[in-house]
Amino acid sequence: MALLRVLKKGAAAAALSYKQLLVIWVVSLIMILFVSFPLRVMLNAVFGNSMAVMRLTDGFDAGLLGDVGKPFLYLISAASTGGLLLLLAGFLLYTFFAGGLFASYTTAWGGLKMTAFIRESARNFLPFLKVNLLILLIIAGYTLIVLGIPVAARMALAKGSMPEGGSMILFYSIWLLGLPLWLFVADASRRWIAATGSDKAFRAMGAGFRALKERFWVSYGTVLLILIINALFIFISFWYLACSIPEKGGLIFLFLIVTQIMFFIRLFMKAWRYASVCEAVR
């Protein structure tokens, strides 16, 4: 089975690049700490020595809002602004490191030296950024067509009320089944840039679409499978994030360790997709 071979080889390549993944993990963690630490200090300033924080023990008790008043709103706005900035910075950071990862999976088969990894990341940054933005635009347009139009049409028919969940499942499924196509094109385009050293984003996209046409079922199947596994994993991550309520110092530390391992696995699975696509196109 070509598909399984691609997935296996991709996983092996991703595993070989564990050092690079560790670098990505550390850098992104430090970046987030830059925001979360001041938030922590603000939280302490809002509550001072008050034991009211304990009302946050089993989830966020919105009843606290009235008591804390304005400072709480500042805290929430700081957290959301900080979060948005982090998303932007994170987007750029990941785009940057994707350059090094794709270089690893195309040229040296997983074994790039760290300096080469950083150099390749820097070299590929701009064309990767263009490809990423283009693909995001395509996905946005695709979402609008597949999900937006049916919703709008049905809302118009049903006089402003939202269509019900049941019939929307069909459209969600269509949307999900189409998503691997765009992700494959994004990956294959970036592989092309990494492999040829070109910085032409549109030509890269062209190469990406061509690659999709050439080995359609293997390409599509690879990304679809990895996407499903990723989606399940992200679902589990969110579930754990929401439902795990460690009470004591040690357990909270354990929570940190578990979530960081989960995040590393998530990084690995992304790298797995990159490497598998490189393998499929090779």
Binding site: M51, A52, V53, G59, F60, G63, G90, Y94, F263
Partner: protein, 654 residues
Amino acid sequence: MKRFVIAVCLSLPLALAGQVIVDTPLSARLTGYDIDAILEPDSHVVSGDMRAWWVNNSAQPVRDVMMHMYLNAFSSNKSTFARGGRWSPAGDDGWGWVRIESMVDAKGQDLTDSMRYVSPDDGNEYDRTVLQVVLPEPVQPGDTLVLKISFESKLPSPIVRTGYADDFHFVAQWFPKFGVYETAGTRDRESDGWNCHQFHPSSEFYSNHSVYNVTVKLPEEYVVGSGGMFMEELALGEGMKKVVWRAEDIVDFAWTAWPGYQVMTRNWRDVDITFLASEKGIRKADQQFEAVIYALEYLDDRVGPYPWPHLTFVDPPMSGQGAGGMEYTTLFTTSGGGLFPSFIRMPEMVTIHEFGHAYFMGILASNEFEEPWIDEGINSYWEQRIVDDSYGDGYGLLRLPFIKLSDADQGRMVYVSSRSQTISTNDLPSWMYPHGTYSMMSYNKAATWLHTLEGIITTETMDNVFREYYRRWAFRHPSGRDFIAVVNDVVRSEHGNRFGEDMNWFFDQVLYGHEVCDYMVSGITSNKIRSYSGVIDGDSVTYVKSDRKSDTLYLSRVSLERPGGLILPVEVLIGFDDGSEIIETWDGKAAWKDFEYTGTSKAVWVKVDPDDKIDLDVNRVNNSWSSDQEFPAARRMAKKFIFLMQIMISLITV
């Protein structure tokens, strides 16, 4: 009491003419209405022929009657309602009004020339919501005045409580309706007279318990519901039908007609419950019935029986949500249109609230205009208890894995986060609350201090207060003072002088005063002291060695302050580093208080009002203090934030 008996006897022939719903009259039945109406759905006009009667239960002849003409609130944008609520019509067809085409008394004397509009509340000459009719001859004590009135009611749009949206009609406040003739002594009144207020944006209810016989003719495709008991439906031919209802001992009669209604029924004990909703709304029928049955059981158990065998409630369609969240005793409207996800219990909360009004204002017919707190405040208090008890304390309104909100906290939050907490006392008439504080004061502040009262006198006593309130005042007109008298009597009989002579000190502050309640911990200090006790003996000082083994003693001082002007007794729980705890009480009278402890352990934390009994405290964050600032919740939130951001970043990058 005597007067009551006379009145009942005199009205017997009328009231008992068709005694069908309750075995014996529940109220004095001083007023009644027989209405024959036709709905013309295209013009949104209801024309009616009405026979209305009123019994003079006073000892004096009465020379005039006052009637509510509620729908005229929508006849001009200068009406008190339109100005206060910023209502304006949706196009030329949006105006609403009620016109009296003829009015004659029992002798056939035409009274139309002796009608005039008055504005007792604000003197607004453009307001036509109160009609005064001077009678050709006075109504003698014990006599019954019968008026035959032909009227035309045009429903307004957009709907504010009453009105139409396309073919949806909610017909409330729709007929000329008597005010309440109060005798001296009723609700602290000094002399007899009519109590009939204009239609205000924030209040509309004060009525006698009445008997209604209502017949409505309308196109047969319309599905109908009302506050009356369904008697019969007849096909009239030519696509028309006639529906007959009867209601006994309720304070208002409203009905609704819409071809799109879906209908479901359930039973609770002997009560037939009918639910009308849109196709979407009816899908929430299970949750809605569950909510209304929670409320029925809760209030039946803790306040008094629900005496009618019928109850109808409506979730209006989206276009008619302006009619949602209203109360007509045996008919009420909820809201939500079936659109809320199940973890937000907003529609259930509205259902429980509006049903609660069957008690607070329906059975215990207080004056919402003059004392909105005793209507909306008490009802919100019960709504919050029912919602939080039925759906889980702390989770009543919102239940998600990571965020929760109780209904009581939601109400309290509106009060404690308002910047106008001290703007007025809590006993103002509805239209007198300044700066839009009516609902914050009447619903939220009042419910918050009722929870506080419960915290002080215990839940059990609070329930007994309401049982006694029901026993004394059901189907009568209690005032705030009457309620306080019940509180005083019940608290005295259950707790003696534990809280003082009476509870007036409480109501003087929370209801008739405007101070806020705030207790705060300013800190804890612990100093080592020498383990030798000094003894001063004349001029010489000798030291006596302590016989304890450890030589370290601590003097801990717990410092409390009362920044708020409101004074309530409060409990204080102090924790020591050896795990022991001490509970203290502070009468709160001084502006500050220190508790001092000497011992081998240090005081390390303190909580004022540890059981959160004093809901009125506007800032609970400063109620506690701990020397250990490392709270697990804060640490956990930081870790969760990190993971959330990591996952989100990985999601938005391809």
